[in-house]
């Protein structure tokens, strides 16, 4: 398919071409309120073609390309007629690194095996007065990329997603707590046990509602709660934002901008992660990239186009779906652990809630999820979010669930002082396959569609430790909450939003969260 497209493109476009072909097969089962209710399968294939003709670049995509490759080439050329001139250089052939992306046990797992995984979670999570939803999803993806300069790569990958959530409604108090496993291979028994333990621990702490303190407090973010801090950072580290002149980090390469304990990288070669790959979607071999090292900004991520515009080289972050043009995107973002925390890791690799950072907190908050992260002026750096799920910490231990509050930080706080502690243990735990948190992918169908990568499983994952903020502002959300037990029910929230303010593909354990994007 892809060879046919490139052969046709070579004849008609004078500046070369590159293409991506992707085929996805997905099987999923869903338990709703404890009952197996649905089983589904999906098969998708499509191609995305980019051509350079008379110095201008054009892109077209289709799920019907196999029927009419000529038409796709024609549409890419029509797109190039309008395009701006761009000296994009298609990379030549290069050796590819090895990375484990395909696991036969996952690819071959029969429906019964997926059902058994779901049932085992249901059995272990069952509680009186609670509803339990579980989904299990398996995906196999074939990706092939090639260009007219001779570079090509293909790989198969698998993905397994298991998510569970427990709902408890008491009066107007609605509590839903979930977690998910995601990896390229089937989950081990230990991984499932850790998933159950994560949900149960948070559920038990959440059943006790406590009164909040007021004012500025120390805040510990769980890996999923960290999105509000991480999103502006990842946006600012994109070469695209630098080119646009809107990255606050532009011109700061080599400068210490963050606390020396902050190191952030992107690693497409991490074994067993669904976002891992040997080659990016533009034929650039994958490699691990350090973005911030010990607080010093080291580099930005680029795809071929942004690299050409910035007169630099692609960092291997080209990401493309069937529709739309490639964009720079992250694979596995890793925020390295610092020296903080107790380092306590259970034998199964899971971390305790709080990552060992709570011991130093006399009176504070453990934030697991915020509402509305990604809305508004993200890259500006200031944020203000109601808390979806957070726990009051008193004298180093979790005292109970917070009611609806707001956490906010001003830019100064976030950049300079926000993170002063990291737990090394949590990196290990969460890099190992727990706690999915998908990064933003643009949701316009023109850019991704349901098949832009390994489908729903494939947000770009990050491995994050717990992090503590020493000076994040904090105040009660409403007057009436100050007295008496709450009727408000914090909920888990999502992560990054996108340029078009649509929600990213969401982890399945968060279905009740919805967004209006304009």
């Amino acid at each position: 398919m892809i060879d046919r497209l490139l052969t046709l493109a070579r004849r008609r476009a004078d500046g070369g071409a590159d293409a991506l072909w992707r085929r996805v097969e997905r099987t999923s089962i869903a338990f709703e309120s404890g009952r197996l209710k649905a089983a589904g399968t999906a098969e998708e294939a499509g191609a995305n073609l980019r051509v350079r003709h008379r110095g201008r670049v054009g892109v077209a995509g289709s799920t019907a390309a196999a029927d009419a490759p000529d038409e796709l080439v024609g549409r890419a050329l029509a797109s190039a007629e309008l395009g701006e001139e761009l000296e994009i250089a298609f990379p030549s052939a290069a050796p590819l690194p090895r990375v484990s992306t395909f696991f036969a046990a996952a690819a071959d797992a029969p429906l019964d095996r997926l059902t058994a995984i779901g049932r085992s979670l249901l059995d272990r999570l069952a509680r009186d007065g609670c509803q339990i939803n579980v989904t299990v999803e398996r995906e196999t993806v074939e990706t092939r990329v090639a260009n007219t300069a001779g570079a090509a790569g293909e790989y198969r990958s698998t993905g397994i997603g298991v998510s569970a959530e427990v709902w408890r409604i008491a009066g107007d108090d609605v509590l839903a707590i979930g977690d998910a496993y995601e990896g390229a291979d089937l989950p081990s028994d230990e991984a499932l046990a850790a998933l159950v333990r994560s949900i149960v621990a948070r559920l038990e702490h959440a059943l006790h509602v406590v009164a909040p303190p007021e004012g500025a407090l120390p805040v510990v973010f769980t890996p999923s709660g960290l999105a509000a801090l991480l999103l502006p950072l990842t946006q600012a580290l994109s070469g695209k934002a630098v080119l646009q002149g809107i990255s606050p980090l532009a011109g700061k390469v080599g400068e210490r901008v963050f606390d020396a304990r902050v190191s952030l990288g992107d690693n497409p070669l991490r074994a067993g992660r669904t976002a891992s790959r040997p080659i990016d979607d533009e034929c650039v071999p994958s490699r691990e990239v350090s973005l911030v090292h010990q607080g010093v900004v080291e580099r930005f991520i680029y795809d071929l186009e942004t690299a050409a515009r910035a007169h630099t080289a692609s960092t291997g972050h080209g990401q493309r779906g069937i529709f739309g043009k490639p964009v720079p995107g992250y694979t596995n973002i890793v925020l390295d652990g610092g020296a903080g925390g107790s380092g306590r890791v259970r034998p199964d690799g899971s971390a305790e809630l709080g990552g060992g950072l709570l011991g130093e907190v006399r009176d504070g908050l453990l934030v697991d999820e915020l509402i509305g992260v990604g809305q508004g002026n993200v890259i500006g750096g200031a944020f203000s979010h109601p808390v979806a799920l957070a726990y009051r910490v008193e004298r180093g231990v979790i005292a109970g669930r917070e009611r609806l509050r707001a956490v906010e930080a001003r830019r100064r706080v976030r950049r300079r002082r926000a993170l002063d502690g990291f737990a090394l243990c949590a990196v290990r735990a969460h890099g190992g396959g727990q706690r999915r948190a998908s990064l933003n992918r643009e949701c316009r169908r023109g850019n991704t569609g349901g098949h832009a990568g390994p489908g729903r499983l494939s947000g770009r994952r990050r491995a994050l430790p717990f992090a503590r903020s020493s000076s994040t502002g904090y105040r009660p959300a409403c007057r009436s909450c100050r007295s008496g037990p709450s009727t408000a029910a914090p909920r888990r929230s999502g992560d990054a939003a996108t340029a078009c303010r649509c929600p990213p593909p969401r982890a399945r354990h968060r279905p009740p969260s919805t967004r209006r994007c304009a």
Binding site: T41, E44, A60, G324, P386, G446, C500, R515
Partner: protein, 461 residues
């Protein structure tokens, strides 16, 4: 196509089966700053099969190759049989319909050269850039799509539709030193080329506002009387109430049913809320939903009392109510789930001036950067705000984030003006991994006697 689908239906012995096929043509032109970022044309096609065998669960299959139609029908039936559900899934009855529905294409976008589309959005983009040197970046997007849609089910419904959609969006980013502010324009219509002409003024206005916001202070956080403009009031009712009225949230949970019992008071008698999938010409408008049920105007809150909810055939049967035509799927890649269409707060009486006249200190929150709900908790980011002082509009403020609890906030709506309008925005609604689904909201100006506004924190160090 209908014949081909009907033949495939006829070969299956499943108790219930439905097939949807969609083919869509879309173009998108994007300007970033002065640069054309992309101009692409895409074609997407595929099918979706859903089968319900007696005593079985839903078996679903989606595919992009239509050659796989028959195989996928068989596979969906197999999956349905593999899942045993007790008590069985039932579907509320809907009489079969045969319809050929071609919505008003209003200048079929498929006949307009992409160069014309580029010229249109380039002009709107230039309007934003021309406002000030402080507008350092813009994003201007033109997008259109025409979908051809076929639907058949084993109960005799046969539908063929042509659905247009066109959206314009503009983001202006203003920067001065370290301060960055944004303005957003968004227009979305279930129409065609003619409907997106002469829209320059809106693009200019948002760029001007982004520049003005550079000088505006952050709103001081606290509890205030808040007046929502019609755009934000619409997003509010969609997010904060609409999602809870979707019956798939309640139908499996006795506790949730109790929370959403019909007859429960949700607000003051002035409050009337509904969802109207049959309102002419809006983005959420369609003659039938994705289960072949005709759309309708469903009243959800009448005089402050909960009187209805939004249903699919499955949720309606489970709750002994009637389907409302709200089972919608984003595309052939997805199963239909309960979704809103065009959600509204009905018009009240009086003017905007009447709402602010007796407010000594309050916030007028305008426009929507976005909204998110988690069950009964919500958060909205307004595009900008104005303080209200002594019954008059005062200074511009920024970073206006509203947060709260649905039940408390609905109950605190104490005045609804008579200036209703539909907000024809682009973007859409996200739920269960299906986004952005085209929806519309409508509302007049609405006053909340007290709401929490996030902003500057007086106590932060």
């Amino acid at each position: 196509m209908i014949d081909r689908l009907t033949t495939a239906l006829g070969r299956s012995r499943a108790d219930y089966i439905e097939i949807r096929v969609e083919r869509s043509w879309s173009t998108a032109v994007t300007f970033r700053g002065r640069r054309l970022e992309s101009a692409t044309a895409s074609e997407d096609q595929g099918g979706f099969v859903r089968v319900l065998e007696a005593g079985g669960g839903w078996g679903v299959a989606s595919f992009t190759s239509l050659d796989r139609l028959e195989a996928m029908v068989a596979r969906a039936a197999e999956l349905s049989r593999a899942v045993r559900v007790d008590p069985p899934i039932r579907l509320a009855s809907v009489s079969p319909h045969e319809a050929e529905a071609v919505l008003d294409l209003d200048g079929d976008v498929r006949g307009v050269p992409i160069a014309e589309k580029k010229r249109l959005i380039e002009g709107y983009n230039a309007e934003m850039l021309a406002v000030s040197d402080e507008v350092v970046d813009t994003l201007a997007v033109y997008r259109d799509e025409v979908s051809e849609y076929w639907y058949v089910n084993s109960e005799g419904t046969r539908l063929h539709e042509l659905r247009p959609d066109v959206t314009l969006s503009g983001t202006a980013v203003a920067r001065r030193d370290g301060t960055i502010e944004k303005g957003l324009e968004s227009i979305g219509l279930r129409r065609g080329w003619h409907s997106v002409q002469d829209k320059a003024a809106g693009f200019r206005t948002v760029a001007e506002r982004a520049v003005q916001l550079l000088d505006a202070p952050r709103v001081r956080g606290g509890a205030y009387p808040v007046i929502l403009d019609p755009e934000l009031a619409g997003v509010f009712i969609h997010e904060a109430f609409g999602h809870l009225s979707e019956a798939d949230f309640v139908y499996e949970s006795p506790q949730a049913r109790e929370m959403m019992t019909l007859g429960r008071r949700f607000g003051k008698p002035a409050l009337n809320v509904g969802d109207n999938g049959a309102a002419p010409g809006l983005r959420g408008t369609l003659p039938y939903d994705d289960e072949g049920t005709p759309t309708q105007d469903t009243v959800l809150i009448r005089d402050g009392i909960l009187v209805g909810r939004l249903h699919s055939r499955e949720t309606a049967a489970a709750m002994g109510e009637r389907p409302t035509g709200n089972a919608r799927a984003l595309s052939f890649r997805h199963a239909p789930i309960v979704r809103m269409t065009n959600t509204y707060i009905a018009s009240g009486s009086g003017s905007f001036a009447d709402l602010i006249r007796d407010v000594p200190l309050g916030v007028y929150a305008c426009g929507a950067f976005g909204g998110q709900t988690m069950l009964e908790n919500f958060s909205f980011t307004a595009a900008y705000g104005r303080m209200i002082r002594n019954g008059q509009l005062a200074e511009l403020v920024k970073d206006v984030v509203l947060a709260g609890n649905l039940f408390q906030t609905l109950d605190r709506i104490d005045h609804i003006a008579g200036d209703f309008r539909w907000n024809q925005m682009g973007g859409g609604c996200g739920k269960g991994g299906q986004a952005p689904l085209p929806v519309t909201e409508g509302a007049p100006h609405v006053r909340i006697e007290e709401a929490l506004v996030g902003g500057d924190v007086p106590t932060a160090p």
